[in-house]
């Protein structure tokens, strides 16, 4: 009796989560796939996929999206790993972590607008460049500024998982490695990095996937000089009302994400939900 009751109770606790997954994850994905088989006149067709894979524009855009997502992830990783490592050495890591997470409390659009102010011709960045004698440079609407701002936004999501895996690392391993005569570099490359690899993988997933579909930043910071699949999806849903084609691109993006998960997988991903824009 007692056991049965416990069983029903634990199933009952699962209901909200299952409902959530069904309504907000599985149903939308199915709808998206369904929608992608219809043309603009509402007829069933495979033409959207044909168009996609026959069009050099869309293929170029896909390459662009993956390339920029890769660059953003790389930049984020190069900054985050040493940060997470040093964080572990500090006296009050929780405080520093809080400071790193703080920017995520601010809306993405507000951060983008703040960067417009910083990077514009009369902005602080250019004032500084003039002050040190380099003179004002065109910063906005360049690939550099786009990757810079995107990396800035993604850094907390990379630092967190890496920090977790570094702080879980037992100091005795490092001591043992040193005792056995390994150099600093050997300790890092043979002991520390392999043991923190799961954190790095989780961080890559958390950063690469949202970066694939960035679209507001491509206009606000990239000035539409960087075109990713997100731009095309927005256009098909809002301007041309060609939901079929928009959904097709969406399905391709989902497939790309599944491939990334699979490549970096092997461990339960600690990806974040929401905040993908």
């Amino acid at each position: 009796m007692q056991r049965k009751q416990r069983l029903t109770r634990s199933t009952a606790y699962f209901i909200p989560y299952t409902l959530w997954i069904l309504l907000f994850v599985i149903a939308p994905v199915l709808l998206l796939i369904y929608q992608s088989f219809f043309n603009i006149d509402g007829q069933f067709t495979f033409a959207n996929y044909q168009t996609y894979f026959a069009s050099s524009t869309y293929l170029m855009m896909t390459v662009n999206s993956v390339w920029y997502a890769f660059l953003i992830t790389l930049a984020t990783l190069l900054i985050s790993y040493p940060t997470a490592y040093l964080l572990n050495e500090t006296k009050h890591p929780q405080l520093w972590l809080l400071l790193i997470i703080m920017p995520t409390w601010i809306n993405l659009l507000l951060k983008a607008y703040a960067f417009i102010g910083i990077f514009s011709q009369a902005g602080i960045a250019n004032q500084f460049l003039s002050f040190i004698g380099i003179g004002p440079k065109q910063l906005l609407f360049t690939n550099f500024s786009f990757i810079f701002v995107a990396a800035y936004i993604q850094i907390p999501f990379m630092v967190l998982p890496i920090y977790n895996s570094i702080s879980e690392l037992k100091p005795s391993y490092i001591n043992a490695s040193r005792d056995l005569g390994a150099t600093n570099w050997q300790t890092f490359s043979r002991v520390i990095f392999p043991l923190t690899l799961p954190g790095v993988k989780a961080g890559i997933q958390a950063v690469f996937i949202p970066s694939l579909s960035l679209f507001m930043l491509t206009r606000l910071i990239g000035g539409n000089k960087v075109i990713t699949l997100g731009t095309a999806i927005e256009e098909h849903f809002l301007t041309t009302m060609n939901w079929g084609m928009g959904s097709t691109i969406g399905v391709v993006l989902i497939v790309a994400m599944v491939i990334i998960m699979w490549l970096t997988g092997g461990r339960k991903p600690r990806s974040r939900k929401g905040l993908t824009k």
Partner: protein, 356 residues
């Protein structure tokens, strides 16, 4: 189990409270009351003091709700959840709404002041005999330049944008119809063409412009131009008038060989309920004094001829915003194209944006 039940009951209670709150909020804001008018319009598109004046004169309280694109407005009216009494679509959208049976015809007997409007802006192709719409504002698509970087008078035509000296110095408005449109106008083609070869040629011409294009952005153009971020921009006259107000170095040109002429007209959507208030408002806005006050506040061009006469001479004779008849005769109004043709414009436009 008990905990779960109380949680569910709690949730239901919260939902009920929220529904009640939403309902009472709606009632207090008056959208279901009697002496009201629900106006659905673009953001910051009417002088608020006129609304107060209207309420004083007629007793009708105006609820203003705003939209930021014709398409968003179309979707909301089509769903029909809210009883909007008046809305302000642009020309091609009036055609589209008419075709979708979303508009109610005007009762001409209840309208006064229609004779105040300039005959050039009445009886246009998108609404013959003004069966459904009363003109509100009109404007153009044109070029804004900063005289700090560009010699005044050196930009007169679309083709001037292709000059090498504006390398990486032009901002474009992110709109397929308008960007493709000015390329077509520069080639002396119709801005409503649906010929694939012509559209391809327009894209090729735009590709040659891309070294000059600094960015393709939206509302931010205003801010950038005011802050001297770029020398030249392509945008609508309404946006331009705000830029000019913010930076005295800016000028606006409508290329004489042709450009887009747009209209925003007041129409009665099928969701309308308060007809006395609607006609009172239409007649109120047709009065020259009120239309002039509105035009001075918003800065757009008024189609009301008698109101224009009341505007200060500097505004009335400003060729930037009230172009001469010869230029107006070359301007083209966008027609509502079929979804497939809109797709064609957008595909070519996307290809141009990719070309960097």
């Amino acid at each position: 189990m008990k905990k779960l039940f109380s949680a569910i009951i709690g949730l239901l209670l919260v939902c009920g409270l929220l529904a009640f709150g939403a309902h009472s909020l709606q009632t207090s804001s008056g959208s279901t009351g009697k002496k009201v008018l629900n106006l659905y319009t673009w953001g910051d598109y009417i002088d608020p003091s006129l609304l107060t004046k209207f309420q004083k004169q007629t007793g009708y309280h105006v609820n203003v709700e705003t939209f930021d694109s014709n398409e968003a407005m179309f979707t909301k009216i089509k769903q029909g959840g809210t009883s909007y009494d008046l809305t302000v679509p642009s020309d091609y959208m009036i055609e589209k709404m008419k075709a979708a049976h979303l508009l109610l015809p005007l009762n001409k007997k209840r309208l006064t002041g229609m004779q105040n409007y300039d005959a050039r802006f009445m009886n246009l192709a998108f609404d013959r005999h003004n069966k459904y719409s009363v003109p509100y504002f009109w404007g153009t698509l044109g070029i804004i330049y900063n005289d700090k970087y560009v010699k005044p008078g050196s930009i007169k035509h679309w083709n001037d944008l292709w000059t090498k000296k504006y390398s990486n110095n032009i901002m474009l408005i992110d709109s397929a119809r308008d960007v493709m449109g000015f390329a077509l106008a520069s080639m002396n083609q119709s801005m409503n063409t649906t010929d694939p070869a012509t559209l391809l040629a327009a894209r090729n011409k735009l590709n040659r412009l891309s070294p000059n294009v600094k960015a393709v952005v939206a509302d931010e153009i205003k801010m950038y131009m005011i802050q001297n971020e770029a020398a030249v921009a392509v945008d609508w006259s309404g946006e331009a008038s705000e830029m000019l107000a913010g930076n005295s170095h800016l000028h606006y040109v409508v290329p004489s060989e042709g450009s887009n002429l747009w209209f925003d007209n007041l129409v009665i959507p099928k969701t309308a309920k308060h007809f006395n208030a609607i006609y009172a408002f239409l007649n109120f806005m047709s009065e020259p004094k009120n239309a002039a006050q509105n035009a001075e506040y918003i800065g757009y061009a008024t189609p009301n001829a008698k109101a224009k006469a009341l505007l200060p001479k500097a505004v009335r004779n400003d060729r930037q915003f009230y172009p001469d008849n010869r230029t107006i005769s070359h301007l083209q109004i966008y027609q509502d194209l079929s979804p497939a043709k809109v797709g064609l414009y957008n595909d070519r436009y996307l290809e141009f944006k990719m070309h960097h």
